[in-house]
């Protein structure tokens, strides 16, 4: 609802990191920042999906306000002075990333998304080079029951992009979440294996929006790169028979 453009919106002027900007008053801080090459980090925000405001990486300072706001959910306003990259914010973001890496088992070196992962990139971008809190080392399942796709809960950051894209764009609402707090997990249908889902249309939108290696296409992992050569002796036998 936040993003719905309303007619007769005013244009407002404001500052981001001491640079002057103007934008429609119904635009959010992150929209303006990204349009202008200011890389406010985020994991849950994705242009085209509803605003979720949960990863908290995009929090910014508003001069004169003691509170931080998430830039994905906050609209720009006349005279606003926004700071996106203070030392304090950088430290907070690093800690949030440390928490994320500690939560599940993100072993980048053996991940299918190694090199294509938003979480991995954000760690680098934000200068998070080691995790000071203890790793949780909790066992998470991998569900490979779907013909086309796979979910590896070890890599999930609970950004809810899959839930939102499936609900808001595909209209299937296959994805949802169960549990709360640290036990929250994404589920398909009513917590049934993905392969048995009645509602999944197999469109793969969730895989496309997933920032990490949690949702992937089948056949993309190293272990799956097996060669099927059974056809060879068969073919040569058939040829010999000719």
């Amino acid at each position: 609802m936040i993003q719905t453009p309303t007619p007769n919106v005013r244009v407002v002027t404001f500052k981001i990191d001491d640079r002057d900007f103007s934008a429609r008053e119904d635009e959010t801080i992150i929209q303006v920042a990204w349009e202008n090459g200011i890389r406010v980090p985020s994991l849950c925000y994705l242009e085209g999906l509803s605003v979720w405001g949960a990863c908290r990486l995009c929090v910014v300072e508003i001069v004169g306000s003691p509170r931080l706001v998430s830039s994905c959910s906050t609209r720009v306003a006349e005279g606003m002075e926004i700071r996106t990259d203070s030392e304090r914010l950088q430290a907070y973001r690093r800690m949030i990333l440390e928490l994320l890496f500690s939560e599940r088992n993100h072993v980048c070196s053996v991940c299918v998304s190694n090199g294509h992962c938003e979480l991995q990139n954000l760690a680098q971008q934000c200068g998070m080079d080691h995790v000071r809190v203890p790793y949780r080392n909790k066992v998470y399942q991998v569900d490979s029951s779907h013909d086309l796709f796979r979910v590896d809960h070890n890599r999930c950051v609970l950004c809810s992009r899959c839930i939102r894209v499936c609900d808001e764009i595909e209209g299937a609402h296959t994805w949802d979440s169960k549990g709360r707090g640290i036990d929250t997990q994404v589920i398909t249908d009513l917590n049934r294996p993905w392969g048995e889902s009645d509602s999944c249309t197999g469109c793969g939108k969730c895989v496309q929006v997933c920032p990490t290696g949690a949702l992937v296409q089948q056949g993309t992992s190293v272990g799956e790169m097996h060669k099927d050569r059974k056809f060879l002796p068969y073919l040569s036998r058939m040829r010999d028979a000719q």
Binding site: V107, C108, S109, N114, Q120, N121, G127, D129, H130, Y135
Partner: protein, 180 residues
């Protein structure tokens, strides 16, 4: 530059695959440049098997998985003025730490019973006891610099070392990341 002014470096590998050390060797001809400025006083790669009282820079590859790793990490911290965690195993626990998802007993069973045809037996001496939880180096001793990567590329390692030699604190994030 006289010999005695050279910066002393010690390296070790804990629970890892030695790939980071291989990557270090991969800096190729730059090794010569390095050798002019530093003295590798202790390392699996050199003959010296005694860690001197004080070493300028210590480099640790691998995670802390058993009693010996722990002792070695502590020894390095005591003797090295500046300690570097080199590679994902040292920085995050990485692959060795994937055994943390299983109870220690089942790890032992897997290694010494299930997969052994001849006289399966869990060793009780000669092999250092495994720790309950595999940890990154900084979880047991303070570390001054973290260089992620699996392994960090030769260029990354060269970047880090040459910056240090120039007296700067390198920012490894400029050139490497987890899993790189």
């Amino acid at each position: 530059m006289s010999e005695s002014k050279k910066i002393t470096v010690a390296t070790t590998w804990l629970d890892g695959c030695s790939g980071c050390h291989m990557s270090l060797l991969d800096i190729d001809e730059r090794l010569i440049e390095l050798a002019q400025q530093v003295d590798i006083v202790y390392s699996p790669l050199v003959d010296g098997k005694h860690l001197p009282e004080t070493v300028d820079v210590g480099i640790i590859e691998g995670s802390v998985s058993n009693e010996e790793d722990l002792a070695k990490a502590r020894e390095f911290r005591r003797h090295c003025k500046y300690l570097i965690s080199l590679g994902d195993c040292a920085v995050t626990g990485n692959v060795p730490a994937m055994r943390n998802l299983f109870p220690l007993d089942s790890v032992y069973d897997r290694a010494y019973q299930e997969n052994v045809q001849h006289n399966p037996l869990r060793p009780n001496d000669g092999v250092p006891a495994l720790l309950d939880v595999v940890k990154p180096v900084h979880a047991v001793v303070p570390v001054d610099l973290h260089v992620p990567g699996c392994p960090p590329s030769a260029d990354t390692i060269w970047f880090v070392l040459s910056q240090l030699l120039e007296g700067r604190v390198p920012n490894p994030n400029e050139v490497t990341r987890f899993g790189a």
